[in-house]
Symmetry: C2
Subunit: 224 residues, 2 copies
């Protein structure tokens, strides 16, 4: 061992092709979860992977292409639950699971606001929803409109859920509302606590979901 004089700065000769597209994408996802969309840069990701910045461009032509792959990786990550029960139950389960998955990767939701992702993996949610709806008896047209409603609600809920813990978010809301003039904002002043809880909490999701599914049940019954 002591015969090695003047070792080279890099101890291992760094075998070629250490990385793959999948490894880079999943590292990027982990980085996004920890530091947010604004925190991710090609330079920092490369640094984390112990590799020169430009090495990443051997796997992805651009940052945009990398981010698309990250969305795909996150969707593929999710195990397809079997979905049992009648159609309202199956919808409730699918939407709940999807919302939960989105909640685990807030940066990805932000990403999808900026540019709609139309890659196959991301469209699984659409196919599953449409299968349940047409199976329940909705026409293609009604099912498509109902899908957009679910998509908007589930993704909107994730996108506009406040960051941080529920406690902190509720506290921030309450502080902002207490600063309002009661004569100009009478109802918000009176219902401040309920509003803060509804805006910050996660359990309000089911209120809207049940209302939407109930409306669809009624519509289906009326059509018969």
């Amino acid at each position: 061992v002591s015969t090695q004089v003047k070792p080279k700065p890099s101890p291992a000769p760094a075998p070629r092709n250490r990385l793959s597209r999948e490894e880079v994408a999943s590292s990027a996802l982990a980085y996004l979860d920890r530091h947010g969309l604004d925190g991710l840069s090609m330079r920092r990701l490369a640094g984390e992977l112990g590799v020169g910045t430009m090495t990443l461009y051997g796997y992805f032509r651009s940052k945009d292409e990398l981010l698309d792959a990250v969305v795909d990786a996150a969707v593929a990550d999710r195990p397809a639950a079997p979905l049992e029960g009648d159609w309202p139950d199956r919808l409730r389960r699918l939407m709940g699971d999807t919302r939960e998955a989105l909640g685990r990767h807030p940066a990805l939701v932000q990403l999808r606001v900026q540019r709609p992702v139309l890659r196959p993996e991301a469209l699984r949610f659409c196919e599953l929803t449409m299968e349940i709806l047409t199976g329940a008896g909705f026409s293609h047209d009604d099912a498509a409109q109902a899908f957009r409603l679910f998509f908007t609600y589930v993704f909107g809920y994730a996108a506009f859920s406040p960051a941080g813990s529920e406690e902190e978010a509720a506290q921030r809301s309450r502080t902002a509302m207490r600063a309002l003039a009661p004569e100009e904002y009478p109802v918000m002043t009176a219902a401040g606590d309920q509003l803060a809880r509804a805006m910050a909490g996660g359990d309000t999701f089911d209120f809207g979901l049940d209302l939407i599914i109930g409306g669809l049940e009624q519509r289906l019954a009326a059509a018969r």
Copy 2:
């Protein structure tokens, strides 16, 4: 006139305090509408205003503070419509107007996803909705939950509406769906046209809005 020799590079001596916070904010809004959130930089906005970059920091401590002021300016810009009719009609009108206003400034929606705006102007929408709901007879708790549903739906719809013309968006959807394997995506393949129309079009907004309001009507009737 010809007596002027060697005119200074800036023809007018540039009177001090030419700008105001309001002028900078409304210029920024116009710039956002034209070039999107990513297109706006302090340097470019200053250039457009014919002023040094650092001059802007005399009006706003940071880009964040400027962007908050832009959201406020856009909300204040909207005239408060009188809102007549029964409570479902008033809600329909308020949500429709809000959605239209958001559609005029897509960059602002993107901005509000990234950081919730809790300034008084932005909370007018909350107060108005809560006034209608409590006036209709909903408890503070139910009204708060219903507000979150409306907020999620209206802002989610704006956030996840595809950019560009409806034609282009529908065409992009159709292209993506035609690339799917029919055996893996049977329903999307069969209902591709309806889906493309529902995802790209703006008239699907009323489908969800009516369904939500109908559900609330039923809930109110059931409670009596």
